[in-house]
């Protein structure tokens, strides 16, 4: 944590000093971070004391909660825009993915199940059978890969993580 905070402060201090593009945001970051640390220490890390909201609690409830919620909410807009621009059936594989996505999207909402009653069951089958088996295969593959790599590191076969080139 100390390393992360130091690095963040250093990076933004350089930005402010050189007045690089967007240095005002770095100033906001400094203000926000120091302010939160100060009120956090003042309130001993508590959002409320005996039912009364502390300054730290105010920062948490009225700044952090809505800001994090907003960040997550705007994803829906960007996903819709990205889907319109790039979700095209350019190949057979992409077409299969597209059809599966449309079925699952329909089957996961009441309107889809209302218009096409079968979509819920088909969506459930896709998730429970196709999705689960493929995920399991990926999981087993990744785990076996991790075991193999671990053995290579333990027995000194894989040494690239230590740096340097080939002997």
């Amino acid at each position: 944590m100390i390393l992360g905070v130091t690095s963040l402060f250093h990076q933004h201090a350089v930005k402010i000093k050189r007045q690089e593009a967007g240095w005002g945001y770095s100033l906001v970051l400094y203000g926000g971070m120091l302010g939160t640390i100060a009120v956090g220490l003042w309130a001993n890390g508590k959002e409320s004391v005996n039912g009364a909201m502390t300054a730290f609690g105010w920062v948490y409830n009225f700044m952090m909660v809505p800001l994090q919620g907003t960040m997550f909410a705007i994803l829906a807009f960007f996903i819709a825009s990205a889907a319109y621009r790039s979700f095209r059936a350019r190949s057979r594989e992409a077409a299969v993915l597209l059809v599966a996505a449309v079925i699952v999207m329909m089957g996961r909402v009441p309107l889809g199940e209302y218009l096409i009653p079968l979509s819920g069951d088909v969506s459930s089958w896709i998730l429970n059978v196709l999705n689960a088996s493929v995920r399991r295969a990926i999981l087993i593959g990744v785990s076996l890969g991790a075991v193999a790599l671990s053995f290579k590191i333990i027995f000194g076969v894989e040494r690239s993580y230590l740096g340097g080139g080939k002997e």
């Binding site: 960040m71 979700f87 309107l111 689960a132």
Partner: protein, 274 residues
């Protein structure tokens, strides 16, 4: 520039407007379409329903405000169910940024259900270590959490009477938005200390947890806002999740229509070029 080309390069602000309206209008004018209950959500509900009174129920609220719209209604519905069944409810979080939110959530539902702190429920708060906290709780709950969120010693709390570690937990649900979450609770908790568990997660995470569900490693899965709406319907207390389902229906359909439109224009353009 042909019509198809123009449509494929449509200003993204129009798409934003469509999504915005599809979210806003159903919230203002709800339709209230029926919600079908899936076996995944029923798994969690049925298990809690069958638990005898005063069984120890652990709810780990492993998310932060970013996932509040999907997981907060899940937590409210599960807590209402557990309190109604008169279970001994232990709540905690593995996400430091979710501590304040979790405290508010537990306090709000307990107040609504007229439950007494320390006797009927406890909020242990957050302890550093992620999955190490789960292992520590498995060995000795009081060394992982010597005091609760309010600073009271946990050993003196009647709700934790005869609870020494995770082996004494009857049922556990992790509502996770990432790591540590459902998977960590299974690997470091259930698998080692042999308690039954269910999971809840955001909609995008749900497909990734199906292998755990299908192999019986978790006995139920509440996925996203839809899962929360199903749980609200099961307990007969409709809340924010059911209210949000119309908006979700509309936005899903808007995206489906947009994808179909873009493919139609794409193929029309491809044919024109041939």
């Amino acid at each position: 520039m042909t019509f198809s080309e123009r449509m494929l390069q449509i200003d993204r602000r129009i798409i934003f407007l469509v999504i915005g309206l599809c979210t806003l209008l159903p919230l203002l004018y709800p339709v209230g379409l029926p919600i079908k209950i899936t076996s995944e959500v029923r798994g969690v509900y049925d298990y809690i329903e069958l638990l005898p009174e005063h069984s120890v129920f652990l709810l780990s609220i492993d998310f932060d405000p970013a996932s509040k719209p999907e997981l907060y209604p899940q937590a409210i519905a599960i807590l209402r169910h557990a309190f109604r069944k008169k279970l001994r409810v232990i709540t905690m979080t593995l996400w430091v940024s979710g501590t304040g939110m979790a405290d508010q959530l537990v306090t709000q539902v307990a107040k609504e259900m007229e439950k007494e702190y320390g006797k009927d429920y406890v909020f242990l708060g957050w302890s550093p270590g992620g999955q190490a906290v789960i292992i520590n709780m498995g060995q000795d709950l009081y060394s992982a959490f010597p005091s609760d969120y309010g600073g009271k010693p946990t050993k003196d709390l009647p709700v934790l009477d005869s609870v020494r570690n995770l082996k004494d937990v009857t049922y556990m649900v992790s509502l996770g938005a990432g790591k540590p979450g459902v998977e960590e609770w299974y690997v470091f908790g259930k698998d080692k200390y042999k308690f039954e568990m269910g999971g809840g997660c955001t909609g995008v995470m749900a497909p990734g947890l199906y292998p755990l569900l299908r192999s019986g490693q978790i006995n139920g899965l509440i996925g996203g806002l839809r899962g929360a709406a199903e749980y609200e319907s099961l307990i007969g207390q409709k809340g924010k999740a059911v209210a949000g389902m119309d908006a979700q229906s509309a936005t899903h359909f808007a995206i489906i229509v947009l994808v179909i439109m873009c493919n139609a224009f794409y193929f029309s353009l491809r044919q024109q070029r041939r």
